[in-house]
Symmetry: C2
Subunit: 524 residues, 2 copies
């Protein structure tokens, strides 16, 4: 296991210190010592990235696509080495890791197609009118240009799909930006394997030195240094509120503040309407027992809050949900920090005024395991208590019982920004409750009818984001093809020399992309 930092085409190991990774399932330190990046290595990575940017920003989409496909090929070639290491480091089962690898490959190939097709740049051409009175109209053209070197903080809960070659990296490369990865301390070995695959893809496809670096270090050390580094032009992060907010605050205080796309989790409220509870309460209980415990509850879209009116429908649902949660087994969590935080958080939650434990897994949690659970509270106690509005990362959900519609509305109004909001209801009652759903809409980035929030489809229409504190930037998604827009910034070219215009803005539209010509969308 190669524990060096990847600095462009080099591998380096400074003498600052090393990190090791503890495997939560095997309960031992795993092979490999990972060198913490020193200041000189950080500076070198950013210098190279700045140089690489000068070349890569003008590389055509087709070259960027080759690079992305080569990364995907390289990851596939790692085969079982990668699967095993990711399993050991994350404690996640093989099926999940294989699935996540599939998603990672698909994302890389999807962004390759986006880069190749090229219309994402929002090209606009307004032609000159030299005869216009009182002053001539200039020729103005604009498009999204890559923003510059991007730092990607990899996520603990997706060692592949939201990590080294995950969605953020794929989107940044597709957009024309170099990437510097800050590897997550929980899966430094998985990171090393993938980072070396990217390094090889750089070589294979003739990409500029410095288009990619991968650095090891702690959040407080390396993480903060990267957020402060003047050559960094944007940041993508998926993780805890505490870490995301620290990065956001640091970036806002820079001499030159930069965009921070931090996805910081959410409690993902679910409205359970009475008609649906009565008609299919047991089915819904099964859906939600599975969604709450999927991946040991370690998803940012985990349904942490179920909101319903008291009544026989809810009683049946709760009985069934309690029974199913009891049957669920504790499972190994991603790392000790997350496991401890889950245990502490559960204890804290259960100690809050009015919180009543409905059910827990029938088995006690062993070391590094998270024990599924479900608790209840009434609406007024919930509304009054900010502790209950915070994400409890793990296989737990809280049911808020409302006496009437007014209480249900008040619960919705008390919610902070969320990644998702879900409504389980019959068609007629969904229409009847549309005012409530409207309130929910204002607080979420994605609204789901009769489904579960876990499982984020990677597609053109997906929005994985939401109002603060779900993310630090309500205007951008971190999943799906639209996430490429995070790494572009508009540039206007006025009365430009035709031969110096980017292909996207040339008269003859050589890339055959969609663009606005004098305000009209088309391919001419």
């Amino acid at each position: 296991m190669d524990g060096r930092n990847i600095i462009g085409k080099m591998k380096t190991g400074s003498e600052v210190g090393v990190l090791n990774v503890f495997g939560p399932g095997l309960q031992r330190i795993l092979e490999g010592s990972f060198h913490i990046a020193g200041d000189a290595e950080i500076d070198k990575a950013l210098e190279l990235a700045e140089d690489a940017f000068r070349i890569y920003k003008d590389m055509p989409g087709i070259r960027r696509a080759e690079f992305l496909h080569a990364i995907a090929d390289g990851i596939l070639a790692l085969d079982d080495n990668l699967i095993q290491r990711a399993m050991q480091e994350s404690g996640l089962p093989e099926g999940r890791i294989r699935g996540e690898r599939g998603r990672t490959i698909n994302q890389l190939r999807l962004f390759a197609e986006v880069a190749k097709e090229g219309s994402w740049v929002d090209a606009r051409i307004d032609r000159a009118d030299p005869g216009r009175k009182p002053i001539p109209k200039p020729d103005v053209r604009s498009m999204l240009r890559p923003i510059g070197p991007v730092v990607v903080y990899t996520a603990s809960n997706f060692p592949l799909a939201f990590s080294t070659a995950g969605g953020d990296t794929a989107a940044a490369f597709a957009a024309g930006c170099p990437v510097i990865v800050k590897a997550h301390e929980s899966h430094l070995g998985t990171n090393s394997l993938v980072a070396i695959a990217i390094q090889k893809a750089v070589e294979k496809t003739g990409m500029p030195d410095g288009i990619f670096s991968s650095l090891n270090g702690t959040g407080i050390g390396l993480g903060q240094k990267l957020a402060q580094h003047e050559k960094v032009k944007a940041i993508a992060f998926t993780g805890s509120h505490k870490a995301g907010k620290a990065i956001f605050d640091t970036a806002a205080k820079r001499k030159n503040p930069i965009p921070v796309f931090a996805e910081m989790g959410s409690i993902n409220p679910v409205l359970l309407l009475e008609g649906a509870l009565q008609k299919r309460g047991a089915t819904m209980a099964a859906q939600y027992a599975n969604s709450v415990t999927l991946g040991v509850g370690q998803f940012c879209t985990n349904p942490g809050l179920l909101i319903a009116k008291t009544g026989p429908g809810l009683d049946t649902f709760l009985q069934e949900l309690g029974k199913l949660i009891q049957e669920k087994k504790p499972q190994v969590m991603l790392n000790q920090g997350i496991c401890d935080a889950y245990a502490r958080g559960t204890t804290q939650l259960l100690a809050q005024t009015g919180v009543e434990l409905l059910a827990q897994s029938g088995q006690e949690a062993q070391d590094f395991e998270g024990r599924p659970g479900v608790a209840m509270i009434n609406a007024s106690d919930f509304i009054a208590n900010p502790v209950l509005k915070k994400e409890l990362f793990g296989p737990f959900t809280l049911v808020v019982r409302c006496q009437d519609d007014a209480e249900m509305e008040a619960v919705i109004r008390s919610l902070d920004g969320q990644l998702t909001g879900t409504v389980m209801g019959e068609a007629e009652e969904i229409i009847r409750y549309r005012a409530f759903i409207d309130l929910l809409q204002d607080r979420v980035g994605r609204i789901i009818f009769n489904g579960v929030p876990t499982g984020v489809e990677v597609c053109a229409a997906m929005h994985h984001g939401g109002p603060y504190p779900a993310t630090t930037d309500v205007r951008f998604t971190s999943v799906g093809t639209a996430s490429i827009k995070r790494f572009g910034r508009p540039l206007a070219y006025q009365d430009y020399l035709p031969e110096l215009l980017p292909d996207e803005l040339k008269d003859e539209n050589p890339l055959n992309i969609w663009r606005y010509l004098d305000g009209v969308l088309g391919k001419t």
Copy 2:
């Protein structure tokens, strides 16, 4: 002159205090006492805005368009009352104010068309595939939805086009957002006239109470309170670096940080290449003498920095520029603060190491006037001095003389983020200097060949923005139709009830807008 605050459909005047406006041209206090908004009025305006948002966000584009056209009609109906007051408050000549009114009207009508046409929402539909393995694919649709109540800080230098019913307000209304205007202290009367016209348009077109409010107060008082107010969801600002940065910092420190679109000015560097200087130095001098002094230099796109290599071409240019600047007359500036800052700033600039005055207007400035001037410096002194990188708001430009290409490159590399960068050059030398132009591109939002940066065309392709410190958000423009995107945020609808979907996302595409269907752009 009605000095009350506009709170939705009401007019109120609390007892907090009043402000008066001093007319810089007439040199006296103008008619009207303007009530400073108290905390209760601020809260009321935001409460109403929140209520209005619930209704307005779902109003079809065609209704929003009616509202925008009604505002335009109302402003035209104010006729000479408005023109005279704006002239008195700004010191700007009649032709300029009439032109600015025309631009304001055009912007309102342009955004009305954008709202009516509807494609700006970036609608995306990915259809379900219930048979997909291993898990069914859900139906996911997304579009930009209005972000919520927007505060618009009006600009001192455009009492109409970047103020009460200016581009920010028009874009926010078109997007579906209520607007709360923080009126600029320099033109409270102009603001009152336009605000009342908007209030009448609200009534006439049946818009919800609270869709618009206009408040009087100081930047430190009202300005900061609005930036902190929890019901405010986005901020648009045009003005000084100091004020913009204060708003940005306040918004970043909120419990729920919000987007701030602050356009904070720029020195707008111009590269004068030797071939062009030799061939048409005198013509270029005339162009730039006019651009530097246009509107008494009170444009954020004023060319404050000319960069050229020493040589006979530059000598001729400077001789001619000096002569023309000498012939320009001092003119009344927008207000005392701006005039004092210009006088202080000029003195400070001329006191810097290596700065040499080339020419000044042959006339001394009278009270409230700004005296045109041009100074010179060598490259190394310029590069070393951060004072010279800051905008001097007024009719002044600084010429940086470079000994060679290396110095010219170093000057470009030393520049902060800018709204614009301009290159004056012959075609062959533009191509020869493309590496320098590439460096310039990275530092600007708009790049211009053989023109002047002043005069910002309002069109689809315009980008009026740029890297920090030109703006606080490099990803958005504040001029042109794309500026509407500042006030939208994506929302995804998963497996939604068809009858509850917004028209933009209904299967039958009733609005006939452009959208992505399973990743393919079209009108089906």
